[in-house]
């Protein structure tokens, strides 16, 4: 089985979010970039398929040279080879078109991407990729087993979960649950050394239209001070929620 894990290079979850150039761009100043958490759960599940079922695992990202430390980390975790499409990701459709080209040329049976990136939260790349390639697709995937070409997936739904059955080739929009937080791997020194020897192929992008564009950003209005209620007078909170906030 040949697996491609799609990696998005995103600001660490603790990052302060600021905008620059007249609020038209995300300010990367002082920001630490990491593997998108939803993608890392998928990468870790792919490592399981590699170790238990002999799968080959490649990783791909769409981004400039500045994303290479993130993709090297994926190699250090255990991916066999990496691909970087050398283009700034313009929007979700643009990224899906680039990845579709990678998948078509690489003959992958299973593509694992995160359900969404934690920066732009589009949540559209896996579904668009599957549709462009006419592959099966399962979103918000929290469990995946493969037997031959048959796949059984668990999907998180509002208020529960759903078990699905399908076949390869398959695209997954993954999230926590594919593996647990405690299963995530920190690359060791051997992994980091080996990652330096592994292939990181840089491809030029294919033409794709940009359908959406973020014209301007802004931040939520600053919050007023919290109104404190004494623990001895809990009734006042009920009163405030009813008469002032009008939410009960």
């Amino acid at each position: 089985m040949k697996i491609l894990v799609c990696i998005s290079n995103v600001p660490d979850t603790t990052s302060k979010i600021n905008f620059t150039e007249g609020d038209t761009k995300f300010d990367t100043n002082g920001v630490q970039f990491v593997i998108n958490p939803n993608d890392e759960f998928g990468l870790t599940r792919a490592m399981w398929f590699k170790e238990k079922q002999g799968a080959t695992v490649h990783v791909a990202t769409v981004g400039g040279a500045q994303t290479e430390p993130t993709i090297r980390k994926a190699l250090a975790i255990g991916a066999d080879e990496a691909i970087r499409v050398n283009a700034e990701p313009k929007d979700g459709f643009f990224v899906a078109k680039q990845l579709a080209e990678v998948v078509k040329n690489g003959g992958y049976d299973l593509v694992i991407a995160g359900r969404e990136s934690i920066d732009y939260n589009g949540g559209m790349v896996p579904g668009m990729l599957a549709t462009l390639l006419d592959m099966n697709f399962v979103n918000t995937c929290i469990g995946l087993e493969i037997e031959g070409t048959q796949a059984t997936a668990l999907r998180e739904i509002d208020g529960g979960k759903e078990k699905l059955s399908t076949s390869l080739p398959l695209v997954i929009g993954g999230q926590k649950g594919l593996v647990e937080e405690s299963d995530l791997r920190i690359p060791n020194m051997r992994g980091i050394m080996m990652a330096r020897q592994k292939a990181l192929n840089v491809l030029e992008p294919v033409d794709a239209p940009q359908l959406t564009k973020d014209e301007k950003f802004d931040k939520p209005a600053p919050k007023g001070a919290v109104k404190l209620v004494s623990p001895d007078n809990v009734g006042e909170l009920v009163d405030l929620l009813h008469n002032e906030a009008k939410v009960i």
Partner: protein, 322 residues
């Protein structure tokens, strides 16, 4: 060239978010000088959509679509969009809809913008305001494609009544076996409980509750309020509560009217995930907990004393206002 809206239903009954997306679609249709057409799947109460501005319902009745299927639903919606010549398609932000939206957008060569929190800034050019960076920011996004797909955030626009009379027409999309290549085997949905996605009120517990055995009072508080229960990331990582209850940046987003956090200190990732909630209450014994800076109301005190008192006061309040 009406505005098309996908109105979701469960077991034959339209969901609350169906009325919200219909209200949003009506606003867009007004801006564009056109009307709203809704698409329903096996819904019995379609005619009620007229109350929220829907002029025409394309009613799909098909046993194979009793259980949600992303590809088949997307295929049906794309055929409806083409039949109506719709240039704008309005969707919700439920997990089912987020599953089908990118499939639908790709079929229609449409730009797709999810997490939209307000009526369009403008319709020419078409610009919408959406959340980004997990609610730490907003983007004003222009959609330049001919057909546009918009996902409206839960509880962001609200349900607005605009009475028009709705005509209901049967619609029969032609579906292929390929549309059903991903098959539902089993749906395990907690019944009799409010889901986080649909809840007006969410009650959430953190590590301050010390152990899963102490969740009884969170459940009870939620029950009194008709609320959904949720938890912080450490609580789900420790296995005290199921993953489906984890709210925050890598968990579920919350956009309720009222969010009550008990024993949650308020890590930046958690605050990001719940910041779309309109009113936030925090109960924590540590006055330095970061959540107090993000909350509207707070009680500095021991959750094990405060929560039972709050339950009691709420019961009295409910009895008086019943």
């Amino acid at each position: 060239m009406s505005v098309l809206v996908y109105t979701e239903s469960l077991k034959g009954k339209l969901k609350k978010n169906a009325f919200e997306v219909a209200s949003y679609a009506y606003k867009v249709a007004q801006d564009l000088g056109t009307t709203v057409t809704a698409v329903t799947f096996n819904a019995q109460d379609d005619a009620t959509l007229g109350t929220y501005g829907v002029s025409k319902v394309l009613k799909i009745t098909n046993d194979k679509m009793d259980t949600f299927n992303a590809k088949a639903y997307a295929d049906a919606l794309s055929q409806a969009a083409k039949a109506e010549g719709a240039k704008v398609i309005i969707l919700s932000s439920s997990s089912d809809t987020k599953f089908l939206a990118p499939i639908l957008a790709t079929k229609l060569d449409a730009g797709y913008v999810p997490n939209v929190v307000a009526a369009p800034d403008s319709t020419s050019p078409f610009v919408v305001k959406r959340t980004a960076f997990s609610n730490k920011g907003f983007a004003h996004t222009e959609i330049s494609s001919d057909v546009k797909v918009i996902g409206v955030s839960n509880n962001a626009y609200g349900v607005v009544e605009n009475n028009v009379s709705a005509t209901v027409e049967a619609f029969n999309p032609s579906l292929t076996d390929g549309d059903f290549a991903v098959k539902s085997v089993e749906v395990d949905r907690v019944s009799g409980k409010v889901t986080i996605a649909d809840a007006d009120i969410v009650v959430s517990g953190g590590r301050g509750l010390k152990g899963p055995e102490n969740w009884g009072m969170i459940e009870e508080l939620a029950q009194v309020l008709g609320a959904a229960t949720a938890c912080s990331k450490p609580v789900s990582d420790l296995g005290w509560r199921p993953h489906g209850e984890h709210v925050g940046q890598t968990g579920k987003p919350v956009a309720s009217n009222l969010y009550i956090a008990v024993g949650i200190s308020g890590a930046i990732q958690h605050l990001a995930g719940v910041s779309a909630s309109k009113v936030k209450v925090v109960i924590n014994n540590d006055p330095e907990a970061p959540f107090f800076k993000a909350a509207d109301y707070g009680i500095v005190g021991d959750a094990f004393e405060v929560v039972p008192k709050l339950i009691e006061k709420l019961k009295e309040f409910k009895a008086q206002n019943a």
